[in-house]
Amino acid sequence: MDIAMILPLLAFTDAGLRYIGAGIAIGVGGAGPALAIGMLCGKAMEALGRNPEAQPVIQTNMILGIAFAEAVAIYALVVAVMIGFVF
């Protein structure tokens, strides 16, 4: 394909860049919390294996921790939604 034919197709429009930005925001913003939640659950399972009687306490604290970690992903989502649909 001739380069002169491709160039007009490569226009970076406002809308296109915005969607790329929104995608990056939620994609990168979701990676950290995903790792955090994985680690939290893994450690909680280890703790449960060692000490099954402590299940209610571990579960409550695990859910609280997950909510904290998840909040970061939610901030990223709010930012992505704002980029995509508000501004």
Partner: protein
């Protein structure tokens, strides 16, 4: 498939999916972050999330009334259920904050939990987001905002029978008039061309779906020519008028009910209320000067900066409270809408289960965090020893066991 019952269920599910995909496509979801205004009462707009929060209050009052009407020592039925939920939280409060403070905190914590919980579950009822009035969009508004709408998510024009009419604009025909499509300021010629193309798409679609006769075929010319574009706009106006004469409304749906926490104002107000209570408990327990001393401490430079940081963290709690609840609920709503849009009926079902779970978990988290912050607020620094605010370097000497000498 040995079991005929399993076979029947699988075939039925597949048939439901196919039929749903072919005949019951839902409109493309519009993501509206701002709560829609139903009507204006004097100077105040009545928004749909407020209607929902009033419904939540009514439900809670009714349940409380019914549960305590005939109170008995050995609880039965509704009283038993309400007492069970209360008891779980009461025990958590007592275990976390101690007997005296736990009893003080419990009413607020429980109120926050039940209010958010009922609001989140109520949002899953089927009449949410679908019953509403249709806000008419005039042809003039339509053509004026056409360019903006074309760029964003693509607005769904929903008729009163809930079927979407969407208009895809063919802007490629207009690109020849501007070297940079989508640039900050469009040439007047280009604006006219985009409006014309939008009118063309609209008239064609309404003609096809509703059988109107707009007469777009009689317009002759090339895109960008002002006479041609005006002709197209006139044609689409005619189609809209004909549609109105048939008693059909074309416009945007304003639902009467919308999940309370998808409007940022309600999580924000709950968060502010929670923080006011936390500060109140802190001040009444420690006294004004001791409590303020947590944030403004001039005994050493490090203590001063730690105090400033704690103050910022205190304010940031409001923001994190708000966005955690708001974001979770908005994400759930978008998830359900998108799943229903992709494949009607069965695909959204597991996500309803997820949203039921998320609804109660978020209410629990909000209440628990309020409790934890309240406990932090009523405990003074002296209570929990070395917190890093003492003189650095001298902190851990006494923790070193006897007989172990530091290496240096």
């Amino acid at each position: 498939m040995k079991n005929p019952k399993t076979l029947a269920i699988v075939v039925g599910a597949l048939a439901l999916l196919v039929v749903g995909f072919l005949f019951f496509r839902s409109p493309k979801p519009i993501i509206e972050i701002k709560a829609e205004t139903i009507t204006d009462i004097g100077p105040f707009p009545l928004v749909n999330t407020y209607v929902t929060s009033l419904m939540v209050v009514i439900v809670l009052i009714t349940v409380a009334f019914l549960a305590t009407r005939k109170i008995s020592l050995v609880p039965k039925g509704l009283q038993n259920a309400v007492e069970a939920v209360m008891e779980i939280f009461y025990n958590i409060c007592i275990n976390t904050a101690g007997e005296k403070n736990g009893r003080r905190f419990f009413p607020v914590i429980m109120t926050i939990f039940t209010f958010i919980w009922v609001a989140n579950w109520m949002a899953l009822l089927p009449f949410f987001n679908v019953i509403g009035s249709v806000e008419k969009v005039t042809a003039a508004e339509f053509h004026k905002e056409a360019v903006v709408f074309g760029k964003s998510a693509g607005v769904s024009f929903i008729k009163n029978n809930q079927k979407a009419l969407e208009f895809e604009v063919d802007t490629s025909k207009c690109s020849a008039y501007d070297p940079k499509p989508g640039g900050p300021d469009l040439a007047p010629q280009q604006t006219s061309c985009i409006t014309g193309q939008r009118a063309l798409a609209m008239a064609e679609k309404i003609d096809k779906k509703e059988g109107t006769t707009s007469g777009i075929a009689s317009c002759a010319g090339t895109p960008g020519e002002s006479a041609y574009d005006t002709c197209l706009v006139h044609a689409s106006d005619k189609a809209l008028e004909e549609l109105g004469a048939d008693g059909k409304t074309l416009g945007i749906l304003i639902p009467y009910f919308r999940s309370m926490n998808t409007d940022i104002n309600s999580p924000l107000s709950i968060a502010i209320m929670a923080m006011i209570f936390i500060e109140f408990w802190g001040i009444t327990t420690l006294g004004v000067f001791k409590y303020a001393g947590k944030f403004f401490n001039v005994s050493s430079p490090i203590a001063f900066f730690v105090g400033i940081l704690e103050f910022i963290a205190e304010i940031a709690r409001i923001i994190s409270f708000t966005f955690r609840l708001f974001g979770n609920m908005l994400a759930g709503e978008i998830l359900l809408l998108v799943m229903t849009f992709l494949l009607p009926f069965l695909v959204a079902l597991p996500f309803y289960g997820l949203e039921t779970f998320v609804g109660v978990i978020q209410a629990f988290v909000f209440a628990m965090l309020t409790l934890v912050f309240a406990v932090l607020a009523v405990s003074s620094h002296e209570d929990h020893g070395d917190h890093g605010v003492d003189e650095p370097g001298a902190v851990h000497i006494e923790n070193i066991p006897a007989g172990v000498e530091p290496a240096h």
